[in-house]
């Protein structure tokens, strides 16, 4: 325990925490996306899936508690590192040209807080204050029929895609998983996961808006 705390006091330790907690969250995001695919199988499939999950309170609450810890650790470490990083420069460059930074990396400090707001809204809408408790299918379709809500979800998922693309690649580096033979796969995996999850999640509001999925 003492050693874990000492490790956490270093910037590298905080990055390891970011990587591990991010890994838990990405794991959940993938599972959540796969479950959402039930939307395309109709109301019985989606509502049945939801009911089955809720018949296992240990799983539901275990996951919730784990995620709460993961989010706490992820946001807490990010905040501490951000505070250090903004003061580390000292004075500002008049000219500064990025040589290697991609859009996803550059926007991490923006997509992070955007995702937190998105998450709060998402939980309020579908988990905490659903319009029709127990009827997930109706809640989702009715919400996405509103173009404003759909737009918000589309924006949120684009932010998610960018964030996990840099996050997944970065996590390997932070925990020290680096080997010349496998390094190209780290980026490929980051692209694959973020592309599949983002495109898949974007398909839900778009399918509802275009009338492919209806009540």
């Amino acid at each position: 325990m003492q050693r874990a705390l000492t490790l956490y006091q270093t910037t590298i330790g905080k990055k390891v925490v970011m990587a591990l907690s991010g890994g838990i969250i990405v794991g959940f995001v993938i599972g959540h996306f796969l479950g959402n695919l039930n939307l395309y199988l109709g109301p019985e499939a989606l509502n049945g899936y939801a009911a089955k999950l809720h018949s296992m309170p240990a799983l539901v609450w275990g996951t919730r508690i784990l995620l709460l810890f993961a989010f706490g650790a992820h946001i807490g470490s990010a905040y501490q590192l951000w505070r250090r990083n903004v003061t580390a420069r000292g004075s500002h460059y008049k000219r500064r040209k990025d040589q290697a930074t991609d859009y996803a990396a550059r926007t991490m400090y923006w997509t992070g807080p955007i995702l937190l707001l998105y998450l709060i809204y998402h939980l309020l809408e579908f988990t905490i204050l659903p319009t029709h408790p127990g009827d997930v299918y109706r809640n989702v379709v009715e919400a996405f029929q509103n173009p404003w809500i759909s737009t918000f979800y589309i924006a949120g998922n684009l932010a998610l895609g960018l964030h996990i693309f840099h996050g997944i690649f970065s996590a390997f580096q932070s925990i020290g998983a680096n080997h010349p033979r496998y390094n190209s796969y780290r980026r490929d995996l980051a692209i694959a996961i973020s592309a599949v999850v983002t495109l898949g999640n974007l398909s839900f509001p778009i399918s509802v808006l275009t009338g492919i999925v209806t009540l």
Binding site: R3, T6, T11, G13, R84, A88, G90, A100, N178
Partner: protein, 256 residues
């Protein structure tokens, strides 16, 4: 190769001392041959300033061969200027066009306080080395060169990390002014060699702690450091440093 002469407009960061406010000053570099190095061009500008009775532009240099790590400045937003794998002393004026405007700034980092103009204090790097960048050796007469066999691939990899000349461009280019690439190169180099095994765990802990204490930022894996490094030191070593630190915390028997 043409013996072309070019004229340039320089916007140089001028700062009288560590605490003084700084600002950009415009100078003209006239009739510069394209065979000159960037520092020779600055020498010409300084000659001119001295003749006019003005304060010459202060900048650091030593070997001017691209191997000592003393020189360095941010040229048009890029540490060591536009040419890859090149220190600013080995950057030649043929990389620039006649009439070009050039912005010159010092390395900007909390861990590298500005001494004057383009000169920064990099003793933070020395303190990181002092914290653990050494090995315990047997003293006495020199031992036989092949006494300790080191496989070629290990020696090559250690040399790739040891190629770091400690110029500080990684810190200057990092969006977080992080010294990760420098510290990682030094930790990795010694961790690969048999001579470096004795203090291996201790070294990782102490050097990382010192890196943090100097006020450098944390790594966000953007890769800016690797892109500007004049010696092509790879991000691979940062992952290795992370692994070394975690390993030191988990395995080491000595208290942290």
């Amino acid at each position: 190769m043409t013996d072309e002469l070019i004229n340039l407009t320089l916007h140089v960061w001028r700062q009288r001392g560590p605490n003084g406010p700084g600002s950009f000053e415009t100078h003209h570099a006239k009739d510069i041959t394209t065979h000159m190095s960037f520092l020779e061009m600055l020498d010409v500008v300084n000659e001119d300033l001295i003749e006019k009775g003005e304060e010459p532009i202060a900048f650091d240099y030593d070997c001017r061969e691209g191997i000592c790590g003393t020189c360095g400045m941010v040229v048009n937003g890029v540490a060591h200027g536009p040419q890859k794998l090149t220190t600013v002393c080995q950057l030649h004026m043929r990389q620039f066009e006649d009439g070009q405007e050039i912005w010159l700034e010092p390395w900007r980092a909390q861990g590298f306080p500005i001494v004057k103009d383009l000169v920064v204090d990099r003793s933070g790097f020395d303190r990181i080395i002092q914290a653990g960048g050494y090995i315990s050796i047997r003293t006495g007469s020199a031992s036989e060169a092949n006494e300790m066999p080191i496989a070629k691939d290990v020696a090559d990899r250690a040399m790739d990390a040891a190629a770091c000349i400690g110029c500080g461009a990684c810190v200057a280019a990092c969006p977080n002014a992080s010294a990760s690439l420098f510290t990682a190169a030094k930790i990795s180099h010694l961790s690969l060699m048999p001579q470096g095994q004795v203090e291996r765990a201790d070294r990782a802990r102490k050097m990382v702690a010192q890196m943090d204490a100097e006020g450098f930022g944390a790594c966000t894996n953007h890769g800016e450091c690797e892109a500007v490094c004049p010696k092509g030191v790879s991000l691979e070593w940062i992952a290795r440093m992370n692994r070394e630190l975690v390993r030191a915390m988990v395995k080491s028997k000595t208290p942290a």
